[in-house]
Amino acid sequence: MSVIPAALASATGLGGVGALAGIGLPDRLRVPAVGVVTAGVGVTGGAAGVAALGGSRWAADYAGLVPLAGAHLAVDALAGLFMAVAGAVVTAVAVYGIGYAAGLGGHGLGSRTAQAVLPLFALSLLLVPVAASVSTFLLLWELMALGSLPLVLPEHRERSAVRQAGVWYAVMTHLGLMLLLAGFALFAARAGGETFTALRTGAPGMSPTLRAVVFVLVASAFLSKAGAVPLHAWLPRAYPEAPGPVSALMSATMVNLGIYGLVRTGLDLLDGGPAWWWLGLLAVGGCSAVYGVLQAAMASDLKRLVAYSSSENMGLVLIGVGASGLFASHGDRPLAALALAAALLHVVNHAAFKALLFCAAGSVQRSTGLRDLDRLGGLRSRMPLTAAFFALAALGAVALPPGNGFISEWLLLQSLIHGLAVHGIAVAVVLPLSVALIALSAGIAAAVFVKALGVGFFARPRDARAASAREAPAPMLAGMALLAAGLMALAVVPGLLGGGLDRAVGAVGLPGSGALTGGGLKVRLADISAQLSPLWVVAALTVAILLAVALPRLYGRRRRRVNARLWDCGGGAPTPRMAYTATSFAEPLQRVFDDVLAPEQDVDVTPVRESAYLVERVRFQHRVPDRIEHRLYEPVLRGLARAGRAARRLAGGSVHLYLGYGFAGLVVLLSALAVGW
């Protein structure tokens, strides 16, 4: 008797109960009840995922559940990994959400709609990997997209940008769905069946061109969901405008499902493909990693910064998936398994630190009403726990040792460096480039999070609202503490995930890599002589820091402390306006990457009326627009608007004209029929 069906059934039941509670309960009870039920959905769904990671499998068909096609469900270790991640994040974020939405009354995230949709969205996040046929998958995928949309929008009354973000998100996610529909329909039609089993058996018999078309269509859709450049335009809009818990859920679990879809389709259903697929994926991943982190470095909006960092991390994951496919296409399956394991581990790590980052950013926004780093500051003393959580998550995100991001990036780099043993010119060129891109993005990521932490939390407050910030309520802190515990476990004993990770990699037909072994203490690579013991790294760093702090105290010369004013060049006491802002901190980086970022400056001088030499007012405006959006999306949007304006001429307003269209259509159709017969 497997636990998976029982866990999934109870998760589904709890999701339904949560939706009903969200609709039916009065304002006061709604938020806690929905939060508890949603956490239950997360726990049960995550339990199913953990069971699958532990090696149990489950599959079932329910013929009557979906009309015509029937629902096909199956859980293997790969699905289990994504379910376990989603379950853990949903649980913690649900607890966090109780505190976030409490006190909002019937507004914002506390509204009836938002609270009714939240458990269903959480459920759909858990169920997407369970689908084992095209129709079931698309149904759940669309349920997830539809569920997330009302959750992006709750604060639309406060800011008009929310509405704009909602439109961008809805349009991009549905364009993705169309691509997915087209790709999978083609795949299912040619493979002779729409269940994943039928696709697996039918895929080898398809022509290479057809396989490539399917892969490109489906991969574009999944890449847009994962927020990869250049299909990322919705991401830096939707995440900052969504309420804290929702952006945490979306960034930590929903983007993962893009990766899941890519791995499932590319490596499992299509069973790998020619090298150019994977080189393309590597290119997209490299661009996303560097471009995402550069935009994050330029962002002065805290949540936008964290959102762009999602783009960066998904880029790193894509490099891993691409390298895995590339190695597999060259026949080096152990190395392919290692690269995929690194990518999947990074998915897990990214989910942990990104959820915590968004939760902390959300609690800053809830407390101060600010997201602008140029106005924040001084939060360390006002919100010490939130600041500590943000610092912990940032440590994970910068990929430096003792953070958890370091382990997966180290694995990724190991697989890429050892991939040079694989022959082929493309490999020899691409792999070192990827290594360089990863290093570059890791370096800039460090600057990004130093900026976020230093300017946002440590500097002096530049705004009254930041100066009067108050620590988040207990449920929010509890949710963040759960995430922080997971984060530290991932950083110190990643080996606990070892067997599960191997089984997840094995689910797509690659041999287990054995990357994480040694009783949870060591990361050892089986075929490669490389080894890392995170626990020892942490221990050594702790000892080093203790020594660095203690030794000067013990042996340093004890001097009398003199409390004196800071030397101010005679200009008076320094004000917060003199401190580094996020923009000024990022300015040197912006100069270095001037050609890539193409910042826009606008100086507007208004002279006094009597004399051109005396200036009355100087206005200086500076912004760093998203250049890809500028060059790629705006022409398309302009073209669409032009086509729309032209099409309006068809609607002249005369009833006769409209009737005439119908009549002409009918006559043309009948004539075609008459001639055709």
Binding site: A651, G652, G653, S654, L659, F663, L670, A674
Partner: protein, 225 residues
């Protein structure tokens, strides 16, 4: 009833049915158009009754009589009343289709083309089972197309109503000729629908006249967007 007589009578009824539709295009007096429409209703009822008598299905004949009462009696009565209201209000201007969008000669030519098209389209259907009834099937299609053409080209609201009803007559005739009649309940539903549509359109016409002083529906142009 002998087979020859049945065929003759059916062809006569169908011919009248088509001819009345063409006459609607030719005439300008709205009162005359309504009279012609009533005649078409009689022809339609005759088609149904003939079919029913030929196949010994008296329910079909009953449906035919009901259709006749509705389309030759009730609907023309309603339209005449609307017309009388318009004439009392505005005099002769409102009771004539003065300026159709396509002139009468071109309309008649188009009606001929549409009839040709209907025959061309219905050829494969007729070949399936060549009985007198199916051979008359294109007439129904032709009336559908002519009715649509009236809708597109006539300005007066009442002429529009007639166009709509021609279209519906054509559909009913096609149903009778192709399938020897639809079930009673469906025919009842359709008839009731048509009656309601005419009532709504009559109210709309009255309102239009009150608002704009005319029933030229091109004056509704300003309402778009």
């Amino acid at each position: 009833m002998s087979a020859g007589l049945y065929t003759e009578l059916l062809d006569l009824a169908c011919g009248t049915f088509l001819l009345t539709a063409v006459l609607v295009l030719w005439l300008r007096e709205l009162a005359a158009i309504v009279r012609v429409f009533a005649l078409q209703g009689v022809a339609l009822a005759a088609i149904a009754v003939l079919l029913g008598a030929h196949e010994q299905r008296w329910d079909l004949a009953g449906v035919g009589l009901g259709v006749g009462v509705l389309r030759a009696g009730v609907l023309p009565y309603l339209m005449r009343r609307a017309l009388a209201g318009a004439a009392a209000d505005r005099g002769s201007e409102e009771v004539r289709e003065t300026q159709p969008l396509v002139n009468v000669a071109a309309s008649l030519l188009t009606a001929a083309l549409l009839t040709l098209l209907a025959y061309a389209v219905a050829r494969p259907l007729t070949q399936l089972n060549p009985t007198p009834a199916t051979r008359a099937l294109p007439v129904g299609l032709a009336v559908v197309l002519i009715g649509f053409f009236v809708l597109v080209t006539r300005r007066r609201a009442l002429a529009q109503v007639v166009g709509f009803l021609l279209l519906d007559n054509g559909i009913t005739a096609t149903a009778f000729l192709a399938t020897s009649g639809v079930p009673l309940i469906v025919e009842l539903g359709v008839s009731f629908d048509v009656l309601l549509a005419v009532l709504v359109l009559q109210i709309l016409t009255t309102r239009m006249r009150e608002a704009f002083g005319t029933t030229d529906i091109d004056d509704l142009r300003e309402l778009h967007d």
